[in-house]
Assembly symmetry: C2
Homo-oligomer: 406 residues x 2
């Protein structure tokens, strides 16, 4: 290939890290690189639960692309991807079309609602800066409204979170800290507010060590969270939800249902004719799509099987960031006409779930369990380490979390 | 009277200042004093336009009653007045009844909507901490919603303020400063937002000097405010307003209509059988109701005619505060069995209207016109002076406005 055109779709963890890696390693005349993203910023999807609860400002969560991408080396196109045409080597955007020689698909996730009636229309999702910021405002708004109605509406003060997995629990942890602040701000008694977590499995945080799950539930219950496990969400209405537990249907009046129980790959991937498994592209060892030698897939759009468990690796930021190193290496190799590509092997360093800014649980190196302040410190180190990788010390100082111990 | 019971209704400017004055001057065994108020706080009604726009926090605008009233000397009852029965010397509260020997009515104002259809249901009023705080949240909410709808709704970004009088213009001034902040917060182009002031008179700020009115309009127009004068609001719908100008009806789609064009005295006064003039009690020279020797009326519930103009004095904080001195003096005299009461004479020291925190217009001593930074400084001195009067240096330092020049 002579000065090939590399097109990277999406500036999530996988896309932006691939771009930054290529920007460092590729010579100016070796290839042209175009990054396409809907917004002119990248955001830390793993911080959105904090943005949504209102415990950190969205400007800490997002990073202007121009702050980490050298715009004189990389061509940035702010546009929305409509379709990918791998047979024509083209990408259809809302306002144009791009031709590529090598493509990297990093289009991220969207919420999966499993056909539960009303969920799509009436529930909030935590999927983007826009939706997180709106949820924050929605919470404030309902607290503000409460004392402005002659007939007080308790549904304004009931918050239902569907899903007790990683995202649901992290969000609940932030809410547990945020709600007392909201109560003070709007002269509302904390006891009038209910925060209810509904989980279909017999326990929250499925897959986590039972000791850590118990620790997490105790921490959250002591801050007034109610858990309903083994319960299926049946319907989400504008003014309430219905769940079923032990064959009985229960209704909770609420104006705030947050759906945190399922994500799937961006549906553009499936719609563009790739062979998919659970909506994702099951990539080869070198992160390329099975049918196309010039298409790499990264992050939540890529499916990699864990041979040990026979199940796919979870869609985490950690894995997307690790993948970006291999993808950038392989893209560069192809651009240089090299046919030997590296294979990707995930290296799970640990998992830490926050329970608000002051508590957390996790599993680190060699399956060591941690919780409380140690886990909190670890979580913030993980968050800060990524900033360092992405934009160096300057970015770390600008957006880092420095209240390490509380 | 032997240890008479003095009951003060309302902790607005008139009520709280009467209470504070009595607390200083009355001996412990001379009388019992009860203050009744809906909330456990007093608020600066003249700062509500800032609270509503979101330019100052509501906790700066309000003052816990216990911070300025000595609860061991004054009996504070947090309750809502339902009716006054002057013939029985009783006050009906939501949760009880009070008997009095001397009554002070300081129940403030409520919005007057002049029967304009839909205004009561759909417009926001700036009348209390609750309503101002909610309006602030409503503005935020609509900006937050804007990027979360597939079909963008420009009505979310149109703000209509009905009334170009003192309150309307002061609120518009704050909006002119606040909206660019909201645009930055929610990634919205300032040009997409319209702020429209509708006034029935041929000019805004009727009664003000034409030079100052021109100055104010220039200041606000340069910050993107649109004025529609000589226009009558005909209807307020949930999603828009209709006004009539030059015989033509014009519709503006908006989710935010703020009604700042009229106030009337608390309707409890009229409903309790007092003789009223424009809904208010036309008081005697000594601030007592015409038919009842034991009932004083203060602030927006009292009507005092200006003999020079033949029109009532405007319902301002300045006058209410001045009245409180005479009312407290006369109440004390009566409690001591003294029959010689003082008469009240208003002494208008000047009027300053803010146009945001960094601009203002006004008229001070000897009708001197001021504008720009001088008027801004004067406005903040007026605001701070009241805090000093009400709660001394301690309160001033806690709630004062110290960004004097900007």
């Amino acid at each position: 290939m002579n000065n090939p055109h590399i097109v990277i779709l999406g500036a999530g963890y996988g896309g932006i890290m691939t771009t930054v890696n290529l920007q460092k390693s590729l010579g100016v005349n070796e290839a042209r690189v175009t990054l396409v993203n809907k917004h002119d910023y990248h955001y830390q999807a793993t911080w959105l639960h904090e943005t949504a609860a209102g415990t950190i400002h969205h400007d800490q969560t997002r990073i202007p692309i121009k702050d980490v991408v050298n715009m004189s080396k990389i061509n940035f196109v702010q546009d929305t991807v409509v379709a990918i045409k791998p047979d024509e080597k083209k990408v259809q955007l809302e306002n144009g079309e791009l031709e590529y020689d090598i493509l990297v698909i990093g289009l991220g996730f969207e919420a999966a609602t499993f056909g539960i009636p009303g969920l799509e229309e009436n529930a909030f999702m935590i999927g983007s800066i826009n939706s997180a910021r709106m949820l924050r405002e929605h919470l404030d708004y309902n607290f503000a409204m409460y004392h402005n109605e002659t007939e007080k509406n308790p549904a304004r003060l009931n918050i239902v979170v569907g899903g007790g997995g990683f995202t649901g629990i992290e969000f609940i942890g932030e809410l547990a800290n945020r709600v007392p602040q909201l109560c003070e701000e709007y002269d509302i008694d904390r006891d009038q507010v209910r925060i209810i977590n509904i989980e279909a499995a017999p326990s929250v945080l499925p897959g986590f060590d039972p000791d850590l799950v118990e620790y997490a539930m105790n921490s959250l219950e002591s801050r007034g969270i109610e858990f309903v496990t083994g319960a299926m969400l049946k319907e989400c209405k504008p003014d309430g939800i219905v769940y079923e537990k032990d064959g009985k249907q229960v209704e909770i009046p609420t104006l705030t249902t947050v759906w945190a129980a399922g994500v799937r790959a961006n549906s553009i991937v499936e719609a563009s004719g790739f062979t998919t498994n659970r909506g994702k592209i099951e990539v080869r060892g070198d992160m390329r799509a099975p049918e196309y030698d010039d298409v790499f897939v990264i992050g939540d759009c890529a499916l990699i099987m864990n041979p040990e468990t026979g199940r796919p690796y979870p869609p985490t930021a950690q894995i997307a960031i690790q993948e970006s190193k291999v993808v950038a290496h392989n893209v560069k190799a192809m651009a240089q006409g090299n046919t030997e590509l590296e294979d990707f092997t995930p290296n799970i360093l640990g998992t830490v779930a926050s329970l608000g800014h002051n508590d957390a649980i996790g599993v680190v190196m060699n399956n060591r369990k941690i919780f409380g302040w140690k886990a909190t410190v670890m979580k913030k180190i993980i968050d800060n380490r990524y900033l360092l990788k992405l934009g160096g010390l300057r970015l770390l100082f600008k957006k880092g979390k420095f209240k390490i111990f509380y």
